[in-house]
């Protein structure tokens, strides 16, 4: 545990020190929240939107923020590789599993903080948190998204030589995961083939879980969301740890 804590501590220190990264990665979620939220609020009313379109997408935007921050945190291992720091960690008498877990929890911490910032900003534009248990449920889902997608980022980073493939991953993997997740639209109103597709996207269960926590209603049973997302998290951590074990320096 000491080792996991040590790696976690370093990650969190680095995150808290990178003000520009914290502020910079708020940009896109806030843009979506404000433009889509206010732009479409009066136009769009669909079933499942008792809180208006803005209220509806707040959980989606929080998920987005957690998703991007966590994938990015995981992929950062490539920087450690390029700047040589990874060697220092890997040559120490510690297991790679401990290192990987420390990185994963560190990335999840950063991404949950990032999600919480969006949550707090959402309070300013009209979100009401009515129940504390609901708030805690939302946090649990944020943590699960953070853990699974940091592990996902680590898995990718373990197979990548340098940052050249980064854009590719963001455009062809992370954006589709976000787009298909029902963060911006209610999945029940979709044609059935598209609905099935969204149900294959693990982020859907995260978004729906947070939605249940914050708004009190969701289109996927929260228990199902929890089970699926937990399963996905366990799978990603195991998969990430497996690939990280074979990383070469």
């Amino acid at each position: 545990m000491d080792i996991v804590y040590t790696i976690w501590l370093r990650n969190v220190k680095r995150y808290l020190r990178s003000r520009s990264r914290i502020v910079g990665s708020l940009g896109m979620p806030l843009f979506f929240l404000l433009v889509l939220g206010f732009g479409l609020n009066s136009v769009v009313t669909l079933p499942g939107m008792e809180h208006g379109y803005t209220g509806f997408i707040i959980p989606g935007i929080i998920s987005m923020s957690v998703l991007f921050t966590s994938v990015f945190s995981g992929i950062q291992i490539i920087w450690d590789k390029q700047f040589g720091f990874l060697k220092e960690t890997l040559v120490a008498p510690v297991s790679r599993l401990e290192i990987m877990l420390g990185q994963t929890i560190g990335g999840a911490t950063a991404s949950v903080i990032q999600g919480l910032i969006i949550l707090v900003l959402s309070l300013l534009i009209g979100l009401n948190i009515t129940s504390i248990p609901g708030f805690l449920i939302a946090i649990v889902f944020m943590v699960l998204i953070g853990l699974s997608f940091t592990a996902f980022g680590i898995a990718i980073a373990s197979r990548m030589e340098d940052m050249h493939g980064f854009q590719l991953i963001i455009n062809f993997v992370v954006f589709p995961i976000f787009g298909l997740s029902g963060a911006l639209f209610p999945i029940d109103s979709l044609p059935s083939w598209l609905r099935s597709l969204t149900l294959l996207d693990p982020l859907t269960y995260g978004v729906e879980g947070i939605r249940y926590g914050l708004l009190g209603s969701s289109q996927v049973n929260p228990l199902l969301s929890f089970v699926v997302l937990t399963g996905f998290t366990v799978f990603m951590v195991v998969f990430g740890a497996y690939l990280f074990r074979k990383i070469s320096i």
């Binding site: 370093r10 220190k13 700047f83 040589g84 060697k87 890997l90 040559v91 120490a92 510690v94």
Partner: protein, 327 residues
């Protein structure tokens, strides 16, 4: 007992043999140098000994532990300063040290005490709370060495410890390395392609070229082995000169290079006049002639037929230095 024993160690990368069946051993408390040009296989050897790279074949023991079977014990008992930087720039010097101490499970009180002590030793204590990205190349190197010592390793690996440093900082580091070895009895294995560094620091040197160890002994014996003196001659007709000198009885060894001719012999002073006379008889002009005691450079030349500098004209080295500075 030996600090390091290496038996027929080999590393191939996709059929390319980077380290070719090398064997050597290092006694406890020795300063041992691996000397060789770029690409000789020094770093690859270090990586195998520090368990970060699996050998293709062969065996090695570090502090008595098998590098293949007791990876963790090997790792606990060594410290390593990598050729390329391995600090976290976004952390302070103290935090980098602290991270290392925790990774090696040094208990808190001891950790704090040792960090303070080591930072003082490398003269960084007043800058300990500055981010490493504000450090100069020399300061970073000193920090890396301090970090490598934090968990009190029995063997310290230094891969090109003074690459890209100015002469003053190099001298400083040399003193420091000698002190470490003298006071703490740490066994040091260092790689370098600076001949003077190997000569000054090392008790024993292995000259490595293209993956093979071609000579291994104390610097003195290596230098003695090629004869008492070396004469270097620059001449436009060096080939003709080679022909007339090669049959002289006093020549111990003769080498022809791109721009010069070197002769190993005893009592060079007596024979210089003879060389000059012979060449003027044959109408061979000489641009420059000099006598010096053999250096490790001459040893390298003797065994490989090349000077280490010819090899070094390579840009890799300079690029690395620039990277170091930019970072």
């Amino acid at each position: 007992m030996f600090a390091i024993e290496v038996e027929n160690l080999t590393k191939e990368f996709d059929g390319f043999v980077a380290v070719d069946n090398i064997s050597f051993s290092i006694g406890k408390g020795e300063i041992f140098g691996l000397l060789g040009p770029n690409g000789a296989g020094k770093t690859t050897t270090m990586s195998m000994l520090s368990t970060t790279l699996k050998p293709t074949s062969g065996k090695a023991y570090v502090n008595g532990f098998d590098i293949l079977k007791n990876e963790d014990d090997v790792r606990k008992s060594i410290g390593i300063v990598f050729q390329d930087q391995s600090l976290d720039e976004e952390l302070t010097a103290y935090e980098n040290m602290d991270f290392h101490g925790r990774l090696y499970r040094v208990p808190k009180e001891e950790r704090q005490k040792k960090i303070a002590e080591l930072l003082k030793l490398v003269e960084l204590e007043d800058k300990k709370d500055n981010l490493v990205k504000t450090y100069s190349g020399g300061m970073r190197r000193r920090l890396e060495i301090a970090r490598g010592l934090l968990h009190e390793p029995d063997v310290l690996f230094l891969d090109e410890p003074t690459l890209g440093l100015d002469p003053q900082t190099r001298n400083h580091l040399w003193d420091y390395i000698e002190k470490l070895n003298g006071e703490k009895g740490i066994t040091l294995i260092l790689t370098t392609h600076y001949m003077d560094e190997a000569d000054k620091l090392c008790n024993r040197v292995a000259i490595i070229d293209r993956g093979k160890i071609i000579a291994s002994d104390t610097p003195e014996k290596l230098k003695d082995s090629i004869g008492g003196d070396v004469i270097t001659i620059h001449s436009p007709q060096k080939n003709d000169l080679y022909e007339i000198i090669k049959d002289q009885t006093w020549v111990k060894h003769l080498d022809l290079h791109d721009s010069s001719l070197t002769i190993s012999l005893q009592n060079a002073g007596q024979h210089v006049a003879e060389i000059v006379n012979l060449s003027s008889e044959k109408g061979i002009s000489i641009d420059d002639i000099s006598i010096h005691k053999p250096t490790l450079e001459d040893v390298f030349l003797h065994y490989t037929g090349r000077t280490i500098r010819e090899e070094e004209a390579n840009t890799k080295d300079r690029m690395r230095m620039m990277q170091r500075v930019r970072r």
